[in-house]
């Protein structure tokens, strides 16, 4: 791990081939390299290792949430089904929604950011890498808690937005809603830490010469999404905290009998909940911009327009939350404002769509699986957007509120706007992460089955909703006539399941025997393709300096290298905010077990506080101890850093 220790690499005593390889690895990458074995894996703070396990974990929760949805479609496939009772069904739809929104969609978008943002801006690691490791562990433990509760039959059952009074102390008996509220706490802690790290990475760790207006569009989308997280998540953090306080110690925030108000919950939740949709959607747009450019073989049309649209979307997203509450007694004038805002937000999205069309139109299109998913995104998102404009109208919304029409709409928007670009991004970046290509034939099967299966599953729900089928009912009578369309929807779900299984097969197979990718298999323009696949610890040896927005496409785009950064301690170059001119060196932290220990202590505190408020007091002691252990510097490392000290 440190250079001095490797001096004996050529010593006479015989070493196994593996250990020689390890020593060479350590010598070459200095303190960027992790210790070998499982301890190194637990201690790692390399954004690529953390990002990769983050993506795999979030995808695992996607499969789990999908399996839960599969059970629901099985139940709804025919009328008067007795397969699943109402109590289990309530838990299933709650865990499905909670899992997909909080444990899959937002985290996986952030995880893609953790992996790719540092590479795309030419950084050697993400800012605050130990916090990122901690964020991952906290997230993992929170997600496992949710599913543990479901398996034990005490999963939350008040819907993914957990409305009071249903989730309050009066009706939400047992600990079910408390698991929901604490899951929120887990994911908020994780999400907020990542957001701050991504903002700092984008602002301060860009390659010299990468001015703000040369930044890849995916980085812009993650930057805007991270700012939205900073301002949206505190709302749900306060909401879930006050919900648990109402339930555990008898406060009255949501209790109308003592001056509280159930509607307050809806405001708090949706002030976060609506921006959350865009937290999923904006990174999706970033994937689309990236893929369109690479497969149109030209720089993007309307870079400035796209950046401004992303920022505009970020602001407007905070002015829409009441459109989830049209069926409540908020003043009618207020509702009109939110109707208008809901329609205005279509403008920046449309602007981006036109820019992509112009890019594709004037480019030389290469149709590969990533682009297929983008084309599928166009189709599905436009349909979801159209029903969105319908639902933004108050009278129509009152008619369709809480019906399957809304279920259809939100799946068109979220799967169209988030999951399709995400699968495109998987195909696009898999070679960078693993060094191997995903199989193209399987990829096309994956896409077409997903595209067809998705529409077969969700399009009929529009009609079911218009016919009056409410969401969240565990069964329906045969006389309603909803049976045939429900059966079609369930068959569509089977096709989607087949498609996702095919994807998993493709990943496992290609990981082992896929074609070797090389550094830049798509001949793309951005910096992540300028390093090996998979990138080595420390990413760039040496780091690059750029002079263009598409550095690998333009002559002189990569203008040279950064020299004089140490590998042990692991040093990075910090650059200025606007122009990315070199400012100072900074020694990054080294791998350590403390983030994992701190995450375990945090988990104990969070879960124990479901049962007793005193856990907050006693549980904070181990948290404090682990944080101090994390913070306290080691003498040997300080000594190394002192050697490189230079005052401003």
């Amino acid at each position: 791990m440190n250079v001095d220790a490797t001096a004996g690499a050529l010593a006479p005593e015989p070493r196994s081939e593996a250990s020689v390889a390890e020593l060479l690895h350590a010598r070459r990458f200095g303190a960027w390299a992790d210790a070998p074995g499982w301890l190194g894996a637990l201690c790692t703070i390399d954004h690529k290792r953390v990002g990769r396990r983050f993506i795999v974990t979030a995808f695992g929760f996607f499969i789990a949430g999908g399996a839960v949805a599969g059970l629901m479609r099985l139940q709804l496939a025919r009328p008067d089904s007795t397969l699943i009772g109402p109590d289990l069904y309530n838990q299933l739809f709650t865990v499905h929604g909670t899992s997909m929104m909080f444990v899959f969609a937002v985290p996986i978008m952030q995880a893609m950011g953790v992996y790719f943002v540092p590479l795309m801006v030419g950084a050697r690691n993400i800012a605050f890498p130990r916090l990122i490791a901690y964020a991952y562990w906290v997230y993992l433990f929170g997600g496992l808690m949710l599913y543990a509760a479901l398996v034990l039959g005490i999963g939350p059952d008040a819907g993914w937005f957990s409305y009071t009074p249903l989730a309050g102390p009066q009706y939400g008996v047992g600990k079910r809603s408390d698991f929901w509220a604490q899951l929120i706490t887990f994911t908020e802690v994780s999400g907020l830490l990542i957001a701050v790290a991504v903002i700092t990475t984008v602002f301060k760790l860009r390659a010299p010469g990468m001015t703000l207006n040369r930044m890849p569009l995916f980085v812009w989308s993650l930057l805007v999404a991270s700012f939205m997280i900073v301002f949206a998540l505190p709302s749900v953090m306060i909401a879930s905290t006050t919900l648990i306080l109402d339930r555990l110690v008898g406060t009255h925030f949501f209790n109308p009998a003592e001056g509280g108000d159930a509607l307050l919950w809806q405001h708090l939740f949706w002030f976060f909940g609506h921006p959350e949709v865009y937290l999923i959607f904006l990174p999706g747009l970033g994937f689309v911009s990236t893929i369109v450019v690479t497969f149109a073989r030209r720089p993007v049309f309307g870079y400035v327009a796209i950046v401004l649209s992303l920022i505009a979307t970020g602001f407007l997203a905070f002015g829409l939350w009441v459109h989830h509450m049209f069926a409540t007694n908020v003043p009618e004038l207020g509702k009109s404002f939110f109707t208008a805002a809901s329609m205005v937000i279509a403008i920046p999205t449309a602007t981006q769509l036109f820019c992509w069309i112009a890019t594709l139109w004037t480019g030389r299109i290469v149709v590969r699986t990533p682009l297929l998913f983008v084309l599928g995104f166009f189709f599905i998102l436009v349909l979801g957007g159209l029903t969105g404009i319908m639902l933004a109208a108050v009278p129509l919304d009152l008619q369709l509120h809480d019906t399957f029409f809304v279920v259809a709409h939100l799946h068109y928007v979220l799967i169209g706007g988030g999951v399709f670009p995400l699968f495109g991004a998987f195909y696009y970046w898999f070679p960078k992460v693993t060094g191997r290509m995903l199989d193209e034939t399987l990829g096309r099967w994956n896409f077409w089955l997903f595209f067809i299966g998705f529409n077969v599953a969700f399009f009929p729900m529009h009609i079911l909703g218009l016919q009056g089928m409410p969401r969240r009912v565990y069964t329906y009578a045969a006389e309603t006539g909803w049976g045939p369309l429900n059966l079609v929807a369930s068959l569509g779900a089977v096709i989607v399941v087949a498609s996702v299984l095919l994807f998993v097969v493709n990943v496992v197979r290609s990981y082992r025997i896929g074609a070797h990718a090389g550094a830049n298999p798509w001949r793309a323009s951005t910096l992540e393709w300028a390093t090996d696949s998979p990138p080595p610890p420390g990413n760039f040896h040496p780091p690059l300096a750029v002079t263009r927005g598409a550095p690998l496409w333009e002559r002189g785009g990569v203008s040279g290298f950064v020299e004089g950064l140490a590998n042990d301690p692991p040093e990075v170059l910090v650059t200025t905010l606007l122009d990315a001119s070199p400012h100072h060196r900074l020694a990054f932290p080294t791998p350590t077990i403390w983030p994992l220990l701190a995450a375990i202590a945090t988990t104990v505190l969070f879960i124990a506080s479901i049962f007793t408020p005193w856990a907050v007091v006693w549980g904070s002691i181990p948290v404090a101890i682990t944080l101090i252990g994390w913070f306290w510097p080691r003498r040997d490392e300080t000594k190394k850093r002192l050697r490189l000290e230079r005052l401003p």
Partner: protein, 209 residues
Amino acid sequence: MTGDARVVDTNRPVAVDASWLPNHAFGHHSLMWWGTVGVMAIEGMAFAIAILMYVYVWTRLDAWPPDVLPPDLRFGTLNLAILAASLLPNAYTKRAAERYDLRGVRIGMSVCLAFGVAFIAVRVLEFTALNVSWDTNAYGSAVYLLLGLHTTHLVTDVADTAVLAALMLTGPLEKSRFVDVSENALYWYFVVAAWVPIYVVIYLLPRWL
């Protein structure tokens, strides 16, 4: 750089020689500053939402505060004074850090810590003089939420400062630690600044309304 053909031309001249650059920086050039400001933005937002909850609950009721006396002014105002006074040693510490004055930092942080402890002690008294409990009604819940949130920040920041002060007194030191001291002082400014609107809401609003 190893491996296959790529567009990067390894024969190009070095663009940046970083070895001459300093190895830390103060203020908005440092990563620490961005981390601290990020946390301040998150928590500022949390305070704002907690205040909005208070106002929301108030709009739902006819009388405010409902059936109880407003909190006693004494301790809250005393704390406002102590906090305002703590700005002085805090500013001194920040400046000492930025000129690498280890002795000044040690003195400054110790004084800041004394203020922090005094503040927490008065805060305990404050809780006894609110004239309402968290489970009396929604007004009581909102007051406790605000005061509780601020107290959490207070305690964690005093703990942070204590650990950092211990490091500055005993630990292995390097110059970049002074950046941490400077950012710690910035965060204390935030905790003080947050108390002003919360003080107005908890202590003055019920009297004005």
